[in-house]
Structures are given as C-alpha cells and as structure tokens.
C-alpha cells in the first residue's frame, strides 16, 4: 500500500480495510449502543411508568399498554405542580439574572483591568469554584432564621446568586481576556470611559459566554436541592425539587405512576431547554473546563 493511499485513508478514519477492521467497527458500535441504551433506559422507563396504572406496575410491565394518560392531569393537581413551577422559575431566573450581571462585571475587571490585588480577588473566585457549598448551609440557615427570611424566595435567591458567581466570573474572565486589544484602544481614543468600553464595546461581543453562564446557572438553580430543603421548611414557597421530594412522604408514594408523571412534568422544561441550546451547553462547558 503506497503511503499516499495510507495517508488518505488514515486522515480521518481508522483503516477501514480487512476483516479485522470490520470486526473492530462492529465491536465499537456494540459498545457505543450498549452504553447508550444504559444511559437512556432509566429515563425511558420513567416515561413508561408514567403511563401505567398500579396493576401494570406491579405486574412488572415495561411497556405501558394500554396507556394511562390520565396520570398527567392527576399529577398536575396532586403535586400542585403549577405553583412549584412558578416558584422555581421565579427563584432560578432572578438569581440567574443577578449572577450573569455580576459575573460579567467581575469577569471584565479581572480579565481586562490590571489592578492591585487582582490575584487575590481571582483567588477568592477560584476557591468559590472548588469549595463544597455545604459549608454555607448552617451559617446561612442560622442567619436567615435570625433575619426572619426562612420560607421566603429571597432565602434562595441570595445564595443561588453567589453559588453561580464563581463559575460565571471564571468563564467571563476567560472570554474577556480573549478579546483583541485594538477594540479597546480605538474606543479609548474616541473618549469612552472604562464603563462605556465594557458596556458598549466588549459586552455585546461576549454573548456566547453570557448564554453559557445563563444556561448553566439556571440549570443549577433549577435542580438545587439541599438549600431549598433546608431553607423552605413550609410548603408554600417550595421549588420543584423539594416539592417533588415532599411527594415521596405523601400519600402518592404508594401511587408510583403519578409520581413518575410528576417527574416527567418536572424534567420536561429542562430537557426541552437542553435540546434547544445543547450546543451552548456542551461547548460552553468544555471551553470552561479546558481553558484553565
């Protein structure tokens, strides 16, 4: 085989010649599809359960036939999921907006201004990136209780804003750093101040990074469990995860299909969001992880 052919054939794919290569391909697909089946089976099982009734469930069925779509309206009412949605959307969005705004500012400051003490500020951000948030649980609980803020939305919005901040600042800093210097100098010559440069010249260019931070932080807030469990001890302000958790100790625990339908309703918005924005999700994540 001449080198030219070899080069052409290996440019992208493994050598696709011969039986061994074919066997390798079959093995590869077997592994990939097997892993995919394992990855997706539990989610599909949940959807399947949500269309069963209890007799089908106890018979150990996997396919829900005939389907029981009435589980969904019942789940909606039983778990008062409308209010849970509203609480979750409110809390997740408010803290997301705050996180994005504050981390854009901080990312610009750290990425583009050389000021004394910048290293220390960045160090604090990096600590925030690694530290287990559980450290804040007891202090915040006690202080919120003292301030009478338990069982309010504010009790979660503050901490959630902070929890996304380290990640957001980290991503925004990396992005601001990568922008060309000429832009800034041109604007400075035109007489723009630091904030003008930030708001009118730089910020519009960081839209992809802003989207990444927004989506990630929103998802993190949407799914957060421990703080919501601890700070919302009464039902009214509960967010979705704790609301669903409360179902486990309610009468519906015995009715698994209804619980499953609630889980589907809970997951649906996030999954839709994910499939719509999956490029920002995956690429933003990897950019953040690999650009240290």
């Amino acid at each position: 085989m001449s080198t030219a052919v070899a080069r052409a054939s290996v440019a992208r794919r493994p050598r696709a010649f011969g039986q061994r290569a074919r066997a390798g391909r079959v093995a590869m697909w077997a592994v990939v599809l097997g892993a995919l089946a394992v990855s997706l089976a539990p989610g599909l099982y949940m959807i399947s359960l949500s269309f069963m009734d209890n007799p089908q469930l106890f018979a150990g069925r996997v396919v829900p036939w005939p389907p029981h779509a009435e589980n969904y309206p019942r789940a909606w009412v039983a778990s008062s999921i409308g209010r849970l949605y509203w609480n979750s959307i409110y809390v997740s969005t408010a803290s997301m907006v705050a996180t994005v705004a504050i981390s854009a500012l901080a990312g610009y400051g750290l990425g583009r201004i050389r000021f004394a003490g910048r290293g220390i500020v960045y160090g604090i951000v990096l600590i925030g990136l690694t530290i287990p948030l559980q450290i804040a649980l007891i202090p915040l609980f006690i202080n919120l209780r003292t301030l009478g803020l338990l069982n309010t939305r504010l009790a979660l919005i503050g901490p959630y804003t902070a929890f996304g901040l380290a990640f957001g600042t980290y991503i925004m800093k990396g992005f601001f750093q990568g922008l060309p210097r000429e832009l800034e100098e041109a604007a400075r010559l035109d007489g723009a101040g630091e904030f003008g440069i930030f708001a009118r010249v730089m910020l519009p260019l960081t839209r992809p990074a802003l989207a990444t931070v927004a989506i990630f932080v929103f998802l993190q807030n949407w799914n957060e469990f421990l703080f919501a469990l601890t700070f919302l001890t009464e039902g009214r302000m509960r967010t979705l995860p704790t609301g669903i958790y409360a179902l486990l100790s309610s009468e519906f625990y015995g009715n698994y299909p209804i619980l499953a339908a609630s889980l589907v309703l809970f997951s649906a918005p996030v999954l839709v969001l994910y499939f719509v924005f999956q490029r920002q999700f995956v690429e933003g994540l990897t950019a953040g992880a690999l650009k240290h």
């Binding site: 794919r13 669903i244 889980l263």
Partner: protein, 302 residues
Amino acid sequence: MLSPAARRRWRRHAAGYAFTGPALVVLAAFLLYPIGYSVSLSLHDWDGYTPRWGPFVGLENYRALAGDEVFWRATMNSVAFVVVRTPLEVGFGFLLALLLNRRLVVRSLLRTLFFVPVVMSLIVVTIIFQRVFEPNTGLLNTFLRAIGLGAWAHPWLGDPATALGAVIAVSVWKNVGFSLVILLAGLQGLPQDVVEAARVDGANAWQLTLRVITPLMRPILALTALLSIIGGLKVFDLVFIMTRGGPTYSTEVLATMLYREAFELNHMGVASAIAVILVTLVLSIARAQTFVLDEAPEGGKA
C-alpha cells in the same frame, strides 16, 4: 498634586474594584463569612435553638468525631465513593470519547444523548433508580429474571452489602456523559500532526491510543479526575434521597452526616466541624492536584 500618570494608575485600580466589587461583596457574604462562621462554630457547643451559642469547647467537637464510629464510617464511604467512582467515570468516559472521536454523521447526536443524564435533576434520577432497584418489580431484577439470571435478583438498596455499590453505580451513570464531553473536546484539540505522524509511521490503533494519545491527554484526564473527585466528596442529594445514609449507615457520607447532625440531632458545633473537615479535604485535594498538574510538562495550560 498627582502626576497624570499616577492619576491614571489610581483610576485603573479604582476601576478594577468598581467592576469586581459586587462580586466581592456577594462572595464575602455567602462564601467567606460562612467559612469563618463555621470554623468558629465548630469550636463551640450549640443546639441551634438557644439564642446564644453554647460554651467554647476548643477542639472537643473534633475529638468527639474522631471517637465516633459513624463519622469514620461516613469518611470511609466518602473515600470509597471517590476511589470507586472516579476511575469508572473517567475510564468509561475516555473509552466512549475515543470511540466517538472520528467522523461519524451521528457523533454530535450521540454526544447530545450521552449528556442527557448529566442534565437531569438528581432528585428525578434518584427516584427513578429507587424504582429500578426495587426488589420485586423493579427494572433491574425484572431484566435479570428475563435473561435467566433470576438468581442474581437482589434487594440492592436494602442490603448493607450492596447499597453503597448501587448508589455509586447511579452516580457513575449520571456523570459519565460529563467526562465524555470534556475528554472528547480534549481529543479534538490534540495536535493532529503528532497523531498523524505516528499513524504514518505505522502505529496501529492500540499503540496510537496507549503510547501517543493517552500521554497527550494526561493533563485533561487529570482535570476530569479532579472534577470527579471533588464532585464525589460533595455528594449529598443522591444519598440523602435514595437511602438516607442507610441501611445501618452503610451509605452514610460526610455531607449526609453533616445534615443529620445539624438538622435532626441539633448538634450545630459537631456539624460545623464536619463542614470544616469536608472543605479542608476538598481544598487540599484540589491543591495537590493543581500542584501535580503544574509539575507536568504541559500541565500548566491544561
């Protein structure tokens, strides 16, 4: 009078703090202050209800933990969580990343699908898996019986011998997609000419993977492992909802023990001590790892 140059410098410092100020305030309030508070509270005895903290007890809470069998159980479980989970997560993730690292029409679709468990809420995942592991009609045992391995059917979460393994398996299941996505991006960022040259020199797929690609990927593999280790030590939701640390503490980890001590037993001082230990553990691992990374030839840029 300040010279114009000095004034410009001052203005630059001021601008720096103006931009980072809001973030500093928030991080100070929700991160630095709680750390200080926890360290201080961990040296006191307090039930969490009397208006004032109880007496200063020095390291008594830490000493009590050192003599507490449950604490050691939780620590060992946290360690087991990391030691078992991280290699599986990074290993499977790397394997899949290697398999997907070629021109496939469906590659981005596959990547998207493998990432779905990462996006799913832990509470949803946990409730599903409780059902999957359910002894009589759950998916796993039903499947085992269907393929003639009924003898292996088992109350996975109810038996102290298998509960921790089952919880770790769920954790691996949820996070493999995360490793996969990072490692795949890393593979695509490798210097193609090096890989190419090895190929032209006649390296087969095995040699290529083991001798060329894996060493090049070392910094990214280390980073993925670090993220997984830290994530493993922090784990709470999964254990709390799935087993509540039981049966008989067989799945208790540091974070669930912290919660129990604080909010079920009202031992605020002891719980704070656990929080401090947890943070110290995570920060020292992160520190050690960055150290190792910086020592690596190309690690600094990872």
